[in-house]
Amino acid sequence: MEEPVKVAVDENQEYVINMGPQHPSTHGVLRLVLALKGEIVKNVEPHIGYVHRGMEKMCESITYPQIIHLTDRMDYLSAHINNEAVCLAVEKALEAEIPDRIKVIRTIMSELTRIQSHQLFWATFGMDLGGLTCFFYGLRDREKILDIFEETCGGRMIVSYNCPGGLMYDIHPNFQKRVKEFIKYFRKILPEYDQLLTGNIIFQERTRGIGRLSLEDAISYGVTGPTGRASGFSCDVRKHEPYSAYDRVKFNEVLFSEGDTFHRYLARMEEMRVSMDIVEQLIDNIPEGPFAVKLKPVIRLPEGEYYQRVETARGELGVFIISDGNKNPYRIKFRSPCFSNLWVLNLISRDFKIADLVAIGGSLDLVIPDIDR
């Protein structure tokens, strides 16, 4: 491992301390080495790798259906969308024709995943800024989506519902009814979220104008997802390169130009509404048909390179597969959104206070296993 920091004061007379890896506001095992002048943050150096599992190496010795179950463990809050990325890449390589029913169910599940991820963001972001009530409300409502997942997939968080060629099982008979009940419930509840946190003057004072990320930096640092879109970077893969059933639904890409902590928060709140719109358009129109197409029992991708992008709750996930014609990939690379998003932290939190660093870090909505893979 790298040398531990030995001096408390560095050559610029800045005080050097560790934040993490067990700090609650880093949302996982992320260690930030801070250089401080009093309470002012002068430099942030993230140290990553505490949960690195060598997933890319592991994938080189297992088959494609097995890889699906590893991808759950990258960004565990977007587990379903991660699965979809690998499935789409494999199906694209095999040129398999996927029935509409599968596409629509995948899209609904992806959007529900996005809603529950943003609910957890809202819960923890409120808690980071001292509003513990948010945590209880957010988790209470997230349970409802997890219950729907449990009924259909068996799993609550790590669902592994996709497989190359379709889905593991058909949806539960209650699925449509419960999703509609949830949407009705959550449409009523979401304004309460705004009343509780968005409009709160203390919250606004702590987030407005804090940690501003410019459009140029967002593009150069490859910051995608709601974080990038809050800076005006139009990067929604659902819009630019529609996959599954996104080409048949109408929705707006959430874009802001301010790029501060408050608008990163707002982008996610708005995305929950957009996701509900998408689910509502699809839930009554699930076409009949099989829930999976039969592929060969041993999946071998033709020789070549395949790239598939999807939009997870955190940004653009890319799966890059190089195949040599065998049943396991020659090389697989996961371009994870959090890995790219993390590195703007130093840029945007410089010259703010430590408490602001917590707010900025929370608004990036990092999931540490997604950084490490």
Partner: protein, 152 residues
Amino acid sequence: MDSVQLAEKLRSLNAEAVVTEGKQFVEIQIPPSGLYSLARQLKENEDTGFDFLFCLSGVDYGHDLGVVYHLRSTKYGHSVVLKSRTSDRVDPQLDSVADIWRTAEFHEREVFDLLGIKFTNHPDLRRFFLPSSAGFPLRKDFVDDINIVTKK
């Protein structure tokens, strides 16, 4: 610009570059010596404008080590894949593109850690995950008797 026009335009940028139209992306192969200048051109040329590096992967091709850059233009929406490879496995070196696309700095550090490709002119080339005594696990000839179980 469709892919034929894009490929035509890319051919005119650099004489050394080999441009092919793949199934999904237009691909450019460039020897390491021309990598940096072509990368800069790709970003700064008015008609290409590739300002978003959305994926950088290091690959061990068996004999060669290489890096694959996936680029997109946020203005025009077109994409390109840039590839460069070196046959030196003992001291592989490629130019860093970290000052063109800032995100490359961290992706290159990851590639250095796992594949051992040294990026010249990189601002801060240190290992991310592993101690300096460890080998480079993503290389195909990497051997770890303890942690890697191979099926017989």
